[in-house]
């Protein structure tokens, strides 16, 4: 930045009319010459002599006094107009070097626009004006208040021009702001500062969502007090004006998975955060960028409304649904995206631990029919179960590519090698689903050693002794639905004739949950032992059924409740996979990929169209595609290069809490952070245009002029006394 050495400006140029008063002393002097007394005088000879000898001196003294009086009026009049000198503050007012730390609110509420520019652009202008006002020798740092905060310039930089360029290059991201984290980083910057004086400028809309955090956090308040001790705090409140805003606060589907050709419900929640009723608010559904539906919503002030669209995806693969609101002053939250993967069917691998050539002799025969009862029937596709089971023998399991399946069911598999356990582990971490059925072949110690691993493995419980004896069939146990709390048995609530309670179980393996386990018991036996256990392994879900999948230990496979519970079980463990593909701004997209994807070139196309090359990060046994540059909301399109050649879509959305534009006022800020002294400013327009200064000690002249005027008052009195113009 180049500035003229001395550029004079005025804070209140309208008051320059006061300079006209500078003529007052001259007028008074001239008028006084026309007003005099008359008196006779005898000692005229000596008066004339005195006059003759002193005429020049008296005239000079009068001129000096007149000049001093005129200068006095000029000083006062100029001071009222608040003049300042750009670029020469350090020359005119040498002082301590100041470390100026600019903290710009980067939360997306700063995207609110009232005129041609949004608040973030205004914050940038104010920041540039502050740098412009800085004196030579000052240094600056730049911190973006976001979640997480971003330190653009950490160490005090004396190159203010470079800091200015950084400010100019800033763009508003779509995240929120973490006040605690921001103040922590700020505290670090100030602690490392070596300059004599420090000033922190917060350029923010003072949104309640961000700043009210101080009200409930004692550590945050203590941190703020410590920062206030290290530096002078200036807060420029850019959040003045309207707080009207409408936003799409959520978009989701109630379907556990999306099947091609079947109607998928898409529910969007719209909220009016303002105080004005919004009638006929247009809400539009787009899928893959194309408009599918449009509704008009009547949205009273402060209310929210859910609009449910229905859409049948026509092709398998990744899709992005988007709900749009008509534009308002804060456009960022008028869009919400949902990334989904539509499947032709749900592929389930059944690993048979006890194959047989007899009809319903194999371990998985009942299960296969239960999951796809229509396989033999020739029904239309839309009416058929989406589940497509595929059976393999236990011996073929290790050779099977598990990545192809949405769910793997292991029925009465005797034991697992370490390698098989690792395959299952990797499959689960990538988001897979594994269901174990137990049976007479299950080697409990082997399960415990290889799969349970004292609670560190993928198996949710330690297997203990068998309960009951199926061979004797002397007695049986019934299920306890535990109040039908779990989703997979909820359908039987109030439908006791459905057969769940009359199911007989002759034998099962007692499963003992380790201490601190988060596993859920979906269904139990009389007496409390778990019948069906549910747990998660990273992104994957596991389930254990402690009895057999066939009729060896129970009559359940031939009972009416078997089919619905098995279908619900599979859907439950495979549901909501799309959630991995939908994250909030600032969260990283981290998706496990097949091991073969290592060193595969990956390109991420951002919502603004830019393409960012990235890579797959190997971690433990699983490779991950990770991407953390999710600072903008929208659809992220990821292309894996060969040999994978996969295209995937992800959605990044804003936090709805930022859409509420309610803000703190000055008093509330003081209450939220007691003991912190702020210089609270709202005149950002004057600051940005240079008509007012945030930096208290730039080349402002009014104080110096007032001191000069005071000096001139004393000088005038002294000179008038010295020149004998006042009575002694």
């Amino acid at each position: 930045m180049l500035h003229p050495l001395l550029a004079l400006g005025f804070g209140t140029p309208a008051l320059l009319w006061g300079l006209g008063l500078a003529s007052a002393p001259i007028l008074i002097h001239l008028l006084s010459r026309r007003k005099y007394r008359e008196r006779e005088w005898a000692a005229m000879k000596w008066l004339l002599a005195a006059l003759e000898k002193n005429a020049r001196r008296i005239r000079l003294e009068q001129l000096i006094l007149l000049a001093v009086r005129t200068a006095l009026v000029v000083c006062v009049a100029l001071a009222m107009a608040k003049p300042f000198v750009q670029g020469a503050g350090a020359v005119l007012m040498p002082g301590k070097r100041t470390h100026r730390v600019l903290v710009i609110d980067g939360s997306f509420s700063m995207g609110y626009r009232l005129t041609d520019r949004d608040r973030f652009e205004r914050a940038k202008e104010v920041a540039l004006a502050i740098l412009h006002d800085a004196r030579k020798g000052d240094a600056a740092s730049l911190l973006i208040m976001a979640a997480p905060p971003r330190v653009v310039v950490g160490d005090a930089s004396a190159n203010l021009a470079a800091v200015g360029e950084e400010i100019k290059g800033l763009t508003l991201m779509h995240g929120g702001a973490d006040l605690m984290a921001t103040l922590t980083r700020l505290d670090e910057i100030l602690a490392a500062s070596t300059l004599d004086q420090r000033e922190v400028y917060f350029l923010t809309d003072l949104q309640r969502t961000t700043w009210a955090a101080a009200e409930s956090s004692a550590p945050l308040r203590e941190l703020a007090v410590r920062i206030a001790q290290r530096a002078n705090l200036v807060l420029v409140d850019l959040g003045q004006g309207s707080t009207e805003n409408t936003a799409v606060v959520s978009l989701d589907t109630a379907a556990p998975f999306v099947i091609v050709g079947r109607d998928t419900p898409l529910a969007a929640t719209i909220e009016n955060f303002g105080r004005t009723h919004r009638p006929e608010l247009a809400v539009t559904l787009l899928v893959d960028g194309e408009i599918q539906d449009r509704r008009a919503v009547d949205l009273p002030a402060g209310q929210r409304e859910t609009v449910t669209f229905s859409h049948a995806f026509s092709s398998a693969g990744h899709h992005v649904a988007e709900v749009q609101l008509e534009d308002d002053a804060l456009p960022i939250d008028n869009h919400r995206w949902l990334a989904l993967e539509a499947k032709e069917q749900l592929d389930v691998l059944l690993v048979d631990g006890e194959p047989s050539s007899e009809t319903f002799g194999s371990e998985t025969d009942y299960l296969r029919v239960a999951l796809a009862p229509d396989l033999e029937a020739n029904q239309p596709a839309a009416a058929r179960s989406p589940i497509r089971p595929e059976v393999v023998r236990e011996s073929d399991f290790a050779e099977t590519d598990l990545g192809r399946y949405d769910c793997v069911i292991l029925a009465n598999v005797g034991q697992f090698t370490d390698n098989e356990a690792k395959l299952l582990d990797a499959y689960l971490r990538r988001g897979g689903a594994v269901v174990w059925f137990l049976g007479d072949q299950v080697d409990a110690p082997s399960y415990n050693r290889v799969l349970f691993r004292d609670g560190q493995g993928i198996f949710p419980a330690e297997l203990a002794a068998h309960v009951g004896n199926a061979k004797d069939a002397q007695g049986y146990l019934s299920f306890d639905p535990l109040g039908y709390a779990h989703p997979i048995v909820q359908a039987f609530r109030g439908a006791e004739e459905g057969g769940l309670l009359t199911t007989k179980v002759f034998e099962y393996v007692r499963a003992q949950l380790p201490e601190g386990s988060h596993a859920q018991v979906a269904l139990a036996y009389e007496g409390g032992d778990p019948a069906i256990l549910m747990d998660t392994v990273e992104r994957g879900r596991v389930a254990v059924v402690t009895t057999t999948a066939d009729i060896a230990w129970t009559n359940w496979p031939i009972w009416a409740s078997y089919v619905p519970v098995m279908n619900e079980l599979v859907m439950y463990v495979t549901a909501d996979r799309h959630r991995q593909r939908n994250v909030m701004v600032g969260e990283s997209i981290s998706v496990p990929v097949p091991p073969s994807a290592i060193d595969v070139p990956v390109t991420v196309q951002l919502p603004d169209g830019r393409a960012v090359p990235t890579r797959v990060v190997p971690r433990d046994e699983v490779s991950y595609f990770g991407f953390d540059q999710t600072q903008r909301s929208g659809a992220y399109h990821v292309s894996f290069g060969p040999p994978l050649a996969i295209q995937e879509d992800y959605a990044v959305n804003v936090s709805p809490s930022e859409s509420n534009l309610a803000k703190l006022d000055q008093d509330e800020l003081s209450e939220a952070m007691p003991g912190v002294s702020w210089r609270y400013l709202t005149n950002w327009q004057a600051i940005a245009t240079g008509r007012s200064s945030v930096t208290q000690n730039r080349g402002e002249l009014h104080r110096a002029l007032l001191y000069a005027a005071l000096g001139l008052v004393f000088m005038e009195s002294f000179l008038a006394w010295k020149f004998g113009h006042y009575a002694v």
Binding site: S32, R33, K35, Y36, R37, E38, R39, E40, W41, A42, A43, M44, K45, W46, L47, L48, A49, A50, L51, K53, N54, I58, E61, Q62, F723, G724, H725, Y726, A727
Partner: protein
């Protein structure tokens, strides 16, 4: 006693009608104050009292003292001489000036009248001349008591009008004063200093004692004016518009130089110079006269 002393204040005296009464009040006030006055030592030649003793002449009894104390005291007088006192009263226009109600001419008149009264009381002769640019009136010295009225009338009738020209007049008067005596000049001495001293020297040559009563208005000494003023000169001097505050120091310096010149000239020629301010008590003038008379008699 105190009642008489108040008449020594020129402002008080100005309210009294009749110059003869004024003269008497001044002298009485002055004499009444002698008992406690620091000037007592200067006038001991006549104002002593002693207790009456059998055989003393009762015409010297001070009846006023008797009336107050019921004791007989005699006024003691030193040997009488025939001292001639010439009073020269400046009646030029500049003497008309006043800033406090009593003009320099009035003040000079009071002094002159009191002196005349005092001189005649002491059986001495006193004469009077009034002058401005020339001698206006002249009354030869006489010790006759009725002479006082003539002198006072002359003083009363004098009006200030013309320009002063002291130097030339004193040459003239020196010729007229045949008998050696005490010449008392009552004037502001606003004239050329050299000419003035030259004129006074003529008296000295004729072996007169010279006492100069320089009567000045306090404003002429202090120049106390504040506001811009158009000063209109007396005695044909021009008028001038001036800022008094700016000029005060310079004027005082010029005027001070004039006074020093006068004082130095007087000292060099053995003239007594007494500076009288018109706001000053009138007994200062009488004390100075008596001191001069005493020296003369020695």
């Amino acid at each position: 006693m105190d009642n008489f002393q108040k008449y020594l204040d020129p402002a008080t005296l100005a309210k009294i009608q009749g110059l003869d009464l004024k003269a008497r009040l001044i002298v009485e006030g002055y004499l009444a104050g002698l008992h406690k006055s620091p000037y007592q030592g200067l006038s001991v030649e006549f104002a002593e009292h002693r207790e009456y003793a059998a055989g003393d002449d009762i015409k010297h009894v001070d009846w006023k003292v008797w009336s107050r104390t019921d004791k007989l005291y005699l006024k003691q007088y030193e040997e009488e001489t025939n001292l001639v006192t010439y009073l020269l009263l400046d009646v030029s226009e500049s003497m008309r000036y006043h800033s406090n109600g009593v003009s320099k001419l009035d003040y000079a008149r009071y002094i002159a009248a009191a002196l005349a009264y005092l001189v005649l009381q002491q059986q001495d002769s006193v004469g009077l001349a009034t002058f401005d640019s020339e001698v206006r009136q002249y009354v030869r010295p006489s010790s006759n008591a009725s002479h006082l009225n003539q002198l006072l009338h002359l003083m009363d009738s004098a009006t200030a009008a013309e320009k002063t020209d002291i130097g030339a007049i004193f040459h003239d008067l020196a010729e007229r004063f045949k008998k050696r005596g005490l010449v008392i000049v009552l004037s502001d001495l606003f004239d050329d200093t050299a000419k003035l001293l030259s004129g006074l020297k003529r008296f000295r040559h004729r072996r007169h004692e010279v006492v100069l009563f320089q009567v000045l208005d306090p404003a002429e000494l202090d120049f106390p004016f504040q506001d811009a003023t158009l000063f209109k000169g007396l005695e044909h001097m021009p008028e001038v518009l001036a800022e008094p505050r700016a000029l005060r120091a310079a004027y005082r310096e010029e005027f001070g130089r004039f006074l020093v010149e006068i004082q130095r000239g007087c000292r060099g020629n053995h003239f007594d110079h007494v500076l009288l301010r018109t706001d000053q008590r009138l007994d200062v003038g009488l004390s100075a006269y008596l001191a001069a008379r005493r020296l003369k008699r020695r």
